[in-house]
C-alpha cells in the first residue's frame, strides 16, 4: 500500500517536474527561437525583399501597364514575362531570372537604358547587391521613360533605405513573432495551468485519499490494538491459568495465573516448549496429542477422564484440568489452553468420597443391625411368651388370680414389643429388600389392594372410588404396600357411624411426574401434626382408641422417597384427610 502510494506520488512529481522543465525550455527556447528568428527573419526578409524587389519592379512596370497585378498572390513568371515582354521596358538578369529569360532571349529589349539611368542603377547596385547579397538581380529600367524616371529612383532609394535597416524590419517581424510567441506562451501557460490544476487536484485527491486511508488504517490499528489490549486484559483477569501454544509447542502467551501455577516467571515461560510443563511420564506422548489437536482443532477438554498433572519449576506435580481452544491469528494456528488447578477440588472430592464410603458402611451396618437386632430381639421375647404360657398352664394354681393377671400383662407387653420389632424390620426392608423398577399400572395395583382388603372394606361399609391412574416405573410390591397402607388407614380412621369414602385420583404434572391424591372423609387430624404422622411410631391416638404401632405412614413416606417422590397430608379435625403423592413417571 505504502509503496504504491510513494510510487504514485513520485511518478506524479516526476511528471510535474517534467511539465515544468518542458515549459521552461519552451519559453527559453522561444527566446532562442526568437533570437534565431530575428536573424532568420532578416535573411528571410532579404529573400522577401528579393522577391519584393521583383514585385517592386513589377510594380513599377505594372504601375505603367497593369495595376491589378498586385492583387495576384501567385508569382506567375510567365505572366510577368509576358508583361515584361509587352511592356518591353525592363530586363532582369541573374541566375534564376536568366534561366527564365534564356527561353525568352528573342525578346528584344529596347530601348537600352540611358546612361543616366544606368549610372543611377549602378550607383545603387552595391546597395542592391548588398541587399540581394550576391547581386543576383540587376535591374534595368527604360531610360527614355521620363514619366517614371524619378519615381523609380525615388522608390528604389526609399526602398533600399527602408530595407537597409534590418533592425526596423527585424523589429517589425520581431513584433509579429513576439505576438505569435505570446499567443504560444499564453497557450502554454493555459495548458500548464490546466496541467497544474489537474495535477493539483489529483495530488489533493491522492493526498486526501491517502490521508483518509492512513487515518482509517490508524483507526483499524487502534482498534486492533484495543482488541489486543482487551484480549490481554481478559487473559490476565481470567481466574484460570492461560497458556497460548503454537503448532510446534512453543509458548507464546501466558497470564499471571500461569506464572504462579507453574512457578516460572513470564520471561522463562515465553518461548519454552509446553512439554516442559508436563511430568516426565506423560511427556513422551504429548507431541502426538498436540499434533492430533492441530489436525482437528475444536474446543475440547484435554484428556477427558484421565488425571492430568502439571510440572512446576520446582518439580512439584499439580493436579490440573485443561480446556483447549483453537485460535487462528495472523501468525498461524494456536491453541489457548485454560488450566485449572484442581488440588483443592481433588482434596474435597477425596474427602467426600471417604465420607460417602464411611456413610455407606455405617448405613449398611445400620441396616444389618436392624435385621440382626430384630431377629435377635425376637428370640428372648418368644421365650418370655412361651415360658409365660407354661407358667400359666402348669402353675396357675400356685400363682393365683393376681399372678395370672400380671402374667397376661407381661405376655401382652412381649407381644407388642414383637410387633414393634416386626414393624421396624418392615420399615428397614423398604430399602434392604427393594425390588427393581418395572412398568406398574397403578390401576391394577389399587384393584389388588381392594381385593386384599375386601373383608375390611365390607366391615366398615367402605366406598372406594378410583379415577384413572397412570402407569409408572416403580417397585410393584412397594406400590402395593403404599396403597394398602393409605387405604387401610382411611378405613381405620373413619368416622363412627358413617360410611368410609375414599377417592383416589391422579393428574399429570408438567415435569414428567404425576400427582396422586388419596382423600377420605374420616376423622382427620389437626394441621400441626401433618409432618409428625409420617414419623415412625408416632401416633395421635391411644392404643385403646386405635390399634397399631404408627409405622404405616412412615413406610409410605419411605417408599415414596425411595421413588424420588414426595408425600404430604392435608387435614383438619373431622374434615377428612387428603394425601398427595407426587411421583416421577420414570
Amino acid at each position: 500500500m505504502k509503496g504504491f502510494q510513494v510510487f504514485v506520488a513520485s511518478m506524479f512529481l516526476i511528471a510535474l517536474i517534467t511539465i515544468g522543465l518542458f515549459n521552461v525550455s519552451l519559453v527559453s527556447s522561444q527566446r532562442v527561437v526568437n533570437d534565431f528568428t530575428i536573424i532568420n527573419i532578416v535573411s528571410r526578409q532579404k529573400q522577401l525583399v528579393q522577391r519584393y524587389a521583383k514585385e517592386v519592379l513589377l510594380y513599377i512596370n505594372r504601375d505603367k501597364i497593369n495595376i491589378n497585378f498586385l492583387s495576384t498572390s501567385t508569382y506567375d513568371l510567365n505572366y510577368t514575362k509576358s508583361i515584361l515582354l509587352e511592356s518591353n521596358t525592363a530586363l532582369i538578369e541573374g541566375k534564376e531570372v536568366t534561366k527564365i529569360f534564356e527561353k525568352t532571349e528573342k525578346v528584344n529589349l529596347s530601348p537600352a537604358p540611358t546612361e543616366e539611368i544606368k549610372i543611377a542603377l549602378i550607383n545603387h547596385k552595391n546597395t542592391l547587391e548588398n541587399l540581394f547579397e550576391k547581386g543576383e538581380a540587376l535591374l534595368f529600367l527604360e531610360p527614355n521613360h521620363p514619366q517614371y524616371k524619378n519615381k523609380i529612383s525615388e522608390f528604389l532609394s526609399a526602398e533600399v533605405e527602408a530595407y537597409k535597416s534590418a533592425d526596423t524590419i527585424g523589429s517589425l517581424y520581431d513584433e509579429y513573432f513576439t505576438n505569435n510567441s505570446k499567443r504560444l506562451l499564453t497557450l502554454q501557460l493555459i495548458i500548464t495551468i490546466l496541467f497544474l490544476l489537474v495535477g493539483f487536484f489529483f495530488i489533493i485527491f491522492l493526498v486526501t485519499s491517502r490521508n483518509r486511508l492512513q487515518s482509517e488504517l490508524k483507526q483499524i490499528t487502534k482498534e486492533i490494538k484495543k482488541q489486543e489490549d482487551r484480549f490481554r486484559i481478559v487473559v490476565e483477569a481470567a481466574p484460570n491459568a492461560i497458556i497460548m501454544v503454537g503448532k510446534e509447542g512453543k509458548i507464546t502467551l501466558v497470564n499471571k495465573q500461569a506464572e504462579s501455577l507453574f512457578e516460572y516467571p513470564r520471561e522463562e515461560l515465553i518461548g519454552m516448549t509446553i512439554e516442559n510443563l508436563i511430568p516426565k511420564r506423560f511427556r513422551e506422548k504429548h507431541p502426538e496429542h498436540r499434533k492430533g489437536f492441530f489436525a482437528n482443532p475444536t474446543p475440547r477438554a484435554m484428556g477427558a477422564g484421565r488425571d492430568l498433572y502439571g510440572l512446576t519449576k520446582n518439580g512439584k506435580e499439580v493436579p490440573i484440568e485443561i480446556g483447549l481452544n483453537p485460535i487462528v491469528t495472523e501468525s498461524g494456528q494456536f491453541v489457548l489452553a485454560s488450566i485449572v488447578n484442581i488440588t483443592e477440588r481433588k482434596r474435597i472430592e477425596e474427602a467426600l468420597k471417604t465420607t460417602i464410603e464411611k456413610l455407606a458402611i455405617s448405613n449398611s451396618e445400620l441396616e444389618s443391625f436392624t435385621v440382626i437386632a430384630s431377629h435377635d430381639l425376637q428370640e428372648p421375647l418368644r421365650k418370655i411368651t412361651a415360658f409365660g404360657d407354661r407358667l400359666e398352664e402348669l402353675c396357675a394354681n400356685s400363682i393365683g388370680e393376681k399372678g395370672i393377671d400380671y402374667l397376661q400383662r407381661m405376655k401382652s407387653a412381649a407381644k407388642r414389643m414383637r410387633q414393634l420389632i416386626d414393624d421396624l424390620l418392615l420399615l428397614s426392608r423398604v430399602t434392604t429388600k427393594a425390588n427393581p423398577y418395572e412398568k406398574v399400572d397403578l390401576n391394577e395395583v389399587v384393584k389388588e389392594v381392594i381385593a386384599d382388603l375386601e373383608s375390611r372394606i365390607e366391615e366398615s361399609n367402605g366406598d372406594i372410588n378410583i379415577k384413572i391412574l397412570p402407569t409408572i416405573n416403580a417397585d410393584r410390591v412397594q406400590m402395593h404396600q403404599l396403597f394398602q397402607n393409605l387405604i387401610s388407614n382411611a378405613l381405620k380412621y373413619k368416622k363412627e357411624y358413617s360410611q368410609a369414602v375414599v377417592n383416589i385420583d391422579s393428574k399429570h404434572l408438567e415435569n414428567n411426574s404425576v400427582e396422586i391424591t388419596v382423600s377420605d372423609n374420616g376423622i382427620g387430624f389437626e394441621e400441626q401434626y401433618s409432618d409428625l404422622i409420617f414419623k415412625p411410631f408416632q401416633r395421635l391416638h391411644t392404643r385403646t382408641e386405635y390399634e397399631g404401632s404408627g409405622i404405616g405412614l412412615a413406610i409410605c413416606k419411605k417408599i415414596v422417597n425411595r421413588h424420588k417422590g414426595t408425600i404430604t397430608a392435608k387435614s383438619a379435625l373431622n374434615k377428612g384427610t387428603d394425601f398427595t403423592i407426587i411421583l416421577p413417571l420414570n
Partner: protein, 147 residues
C-alpha cells in the same frame, strides 16, 4: 405293625444350641406323647460327629434317624451342615426338618434348595409348639414312608 415298630426305633436328632428352646421342645414332645429316642447336639460340628460315629453301627442307618435342625448355631451353623449332609452320599437320604426362628425368605428358599425336607418356623406360644410337635409325629413318624 412291624413297620410301626421300626418307626418307634427312629432316633430324633435335635440340633439346637439354645437350652431354653431344647427344654420347651422336650416338654412339647412329652405332651405330644412322642416315645422315640432323642439325641441332642449343640452345633453342626457335633451333628456331623454323631452321624459319622453312628454310621455303620446300624444297618440302614438312614432309616433310623430324623434330624430337627436349627439354622442359627455356633461353630458350624444349620445352613452349612444341611449342605454337607445333602452332598454326602451316605447321609443324603436322611430326612431333615428345619426348625428355626428365621423368617427370612432367603433362608426358606435356600434350605429347600439345599435339600431340606421341611421348613418350620419356631412358634411364639407354647400351644403352637405343641401342635407342631403333634403334627410332626403324625406326619413324619406315622404317615410318611421313609426310605
Amino acid at each position: 405293625m412291624e413297620k410301626e415298630e421300626e418307626k418307634k426305633t427312629i432316633t430324633i436328632v435335635i440340633a439346637e444350641d439354645d437350652d431354653d428352646d431344647y427344654e420347651l421342645m422336650m416338654e412339647a414332645f412329652k405332651e405330644a406323647h412322642l416315645v422315640n429316642k432323642t439325641h441332642r447336639v449343640k452345633d453342626g460340628v457335633e451333628l456331623m460327629l454323631y452321624l459319622h460315629d453312628n454310621f455303620g453301627k446300624k444297618q440302614n442307618f438312614w432309616e433310623s434317624v430324623l434330624i430337627l435342625l436349627d439354622l442359627n448355631m455356633p461353630r458350624k451353623d444349620g445352613r452349612e451342615v444341611l449342605k454337607e449332609i445333602k452332598l454326602n452320599s451316605d447321609f443324603k437320604k436322611l430326612p431333615i426338618i428345619i426348625l428355626t426362628t428365621s423368617k427370612a425368605e432367603e433362608d426358606i428358599l435356600r434350605s429347600y434348595n439345599d435339600g431340606a425336607n421341611s421348613y418350620i418356623r419356631k412358634p411364639v406360644e407354647f400351644g403352637e409348639l405343641l401342635e407342631i410337635m403333634k403334627s410332626l409325629k403324625k406326619y413324619w413318624l406315622e404317615i410318611v414312608s421313609l426310605p
